[in-house]
Amino acid sequence: MLRDALTTALNGLFERTGESFGMPVLELRPENIVPVVNRLRAEFGFELFLDVTAVDYPQRSPRFDVVYHLYSRKHNGRIRLKVSVPEDRPVVPTLTPLYGSARYMEREVHDMYGIGFEGNTDLRPILLYEGFAGHPLRKDYVMDMEQPIVPYRE
């Protein structure tokens, strides 16, 4: 029923809707993510930004999916939002003005997949070190890739 309420309220803002093991899934275009999340937060009580990650489908165009999970206390439920971004411009708008917790998680996605978050000014590496080359969770990053040796700091 949460899914029905969502599809009615957000009609026109998403591309496709689905359900995965009882969790509503909305597929959106990158420019709609901020308005949708804004309304999810205001109207449906999605106050907890659980997670953002990405999935790499090298054979597919657009290549990446950026996947968000949010939790609503009011509806006691979760929702998954998916945004597809192409390889040549892997950028989505940031959600840091809405949720503080997006700050660290967006940095991690930027580290691991090289996906940019427009508006997030602090995308320094977080799990990787300074000087790490490449994005390790992309499917074309092979497991035994060698990394440049980082010089000692004076």
Binding site: S20, F21, M23, E47, L48, F49, L50, D51, T53, V55, D56, V67, H69, Y71, R73, N76, R78, R80, V91, Y99, G100, S101, R103, Y104, M105, E108, M112, G116, E118, T121, L123, R124, P125, I126, L127, L128, Y129, E130, G131, P136, L137, Y141, M143, R153
Partner: protein, 405 residues
């Protein structure tokens, strides 16, 4: 779109700060930062004006490794996420795979997993409280709680064969049933734990030094906690009773009676007290589990997922073939994607798993509570004294394995 970003740590150290302030580097080689967290603090006198929390020193590429291993071989990796309560991580992963496979675990396995979740929760909370009070100089409390923790680890060692990284779960069940006398010893340890937790209450609760160091330090509101993604005891310490065991019950939690302890102010003292109360609740839940523990097998009888008895592998050709295929080829999980979250001792532990129908995960992402907590910790450090950094960090219970993955 900015494409080049300054180096994470040195850029903060080298930048021109306010000339009246001092930039101090705390960690990562510092016992109180658990050896994996670096805090770069800009101080004005003794007050932290700005803090930059940096993690990643324990990054091992868990998610990349998981994409190259069969589902059973991922289990030992999940142990090493939160190594203070490895069983909880095991069970979330197994739950995610089992739901994708569409198999239901046996009633005995359900109750045993619930029992072990709560048992691990005690070990985790005890470790957290012990470490955080020890960092404030409370050596007696530390030694008492470490005694409890070691009894639990030795007892889990008897069951699983390992003290810390148990790898006890199997897809569709558990590695083996309880050994003889395990439940009798469990009750002894629970009584021992209750006695020692009571001693900690006596030592700490009304201790002037402890209260001065923790009351009203790093306090926050519920709205602040939600904004920064805090879950688990940290969110509950602000007075909001969000607990996945109550809100969306999994395993056997819908059959158990328990309270969700909450705090008032969301400060360091409340985080300590919520954890202590959760230990009491866990003990009561374990006793309920022991009372309702049904008989029967611990693993499902499904040749697609369950490894056959070792004895049969050596005596029957069918069992040998089944064993070989499960070990060499692995379990084929139908295509699909799922997000499963359990209430781990630290907060919401979520596994986002995508299967493409092969024997290896296409993608496995961990929503680890510690990582999210570190993302918001600077807000709790800023404005307080530099001496409060260590107690606040201790009360967050950051576990490096889970934070950095």
């Amino acid at each position: 779109m900015q494409t080049h970003y300054p180096a994470p740590v040195s850029s903060y150290l080298e930048r021109t700060a306010d000339p009246d302030s001092v930039v101090v580097n705390i960690g990562p080689s510092h016992p109180a930062t658990h050896g994996t967290i670096q805090i770069i603090a800009e101080l004005s006198g003794e007050t932290v004006k700005k803090a930059d929390v940096h993690c990643g020193y324990l990054h091992r590429g868990f998610e990349k490794e998981a994409e190259h291993h069969t589902y059973h071989k991922v289990i030992p990796y999940t142990d090493r996420l939160n190594y203070c309560s490895a069983l909880n991580n095991n069970f979330v992963f197994a739950d995610a795979v089992e739901r994708l496979l569409g198999i239901a675990i046996t009633p005995r396995c359900t109750v045993l997993r619930t029992l072990l979740c709560e048992y691990s929760r005690i070990a985790d909370h005890v470790t957290c409280v012990a470490a955080s009070v020890m960092e404030m100089g409370a050596m007696t409390a530390f030694l008492y709680l470490m005694t409890v923790r070691d009894y639990i680890y030795e007892h889990l060692n008897h069951l699983t064969g390992a003290r810390l990284t148990h790898s006890y779960v199997r897809i569709g069940g558990l590695a083996r049933d309880l050994p003889d006398g395990w439940l009798a010893r469990l009750e002894e340890i629970l009584q021992f734990c209750e006695r020692y937790v009571a001693r900690i209450h006596g030592l700490m609760d009304r201790n002037r030094i402890f209260i001065d160091r923790t009351r009203n330090v790093a306090a926050m509101t519920t709205a602040h906690a939600l904004n920064w993604g805090f879950t688990g005891p940290i969110l509950r310490s602000t007075g909001l009773g969000v607990d996945l065991r109550k809100d969306s019950p999994y395993l056997a939690y819908d059959q158990l009676e328990f309270e969700v302890p909450v705090g008032i102010k969301g400060d360091n003292y409340d985080r300590y007290y919520v954890r202590m109360c959760e230990i009491d609740e866990s003990i009561s839940m374990i006793r309920q589990c022991v009372r309702m523990l049904p008989g029967g097998p611990v693993s499902v009888d499904d040749p697609r997922v369950s490894l056959p008895e070792k004895e049969l592998v050596y005596t029957q050709i069918e069992a040998l073939i089944q064993h070989f295929k499960l070990v060499m080829e692995g379990i084929r999980v139908p295509p699909g994607e799922i997000y499963v979250a359990h209430e781990a001792p630290n907060g919401e532990l979520g596994f986002y798993l995508i299967s493409d129908g092969t024997a290896r995960p296409y993608k496995l992402h961990i929503r680890s509570p510690s990582f999210v907590h570190m993302g918001g910790m600077h807000t709790l450090l800023e404005g307080y004294q530099v001496a409060d950094v260590v107690p606040t960090f201790g009360s967050m219970n950051m576990i490096g394995g889970e934070c950095d993955r």
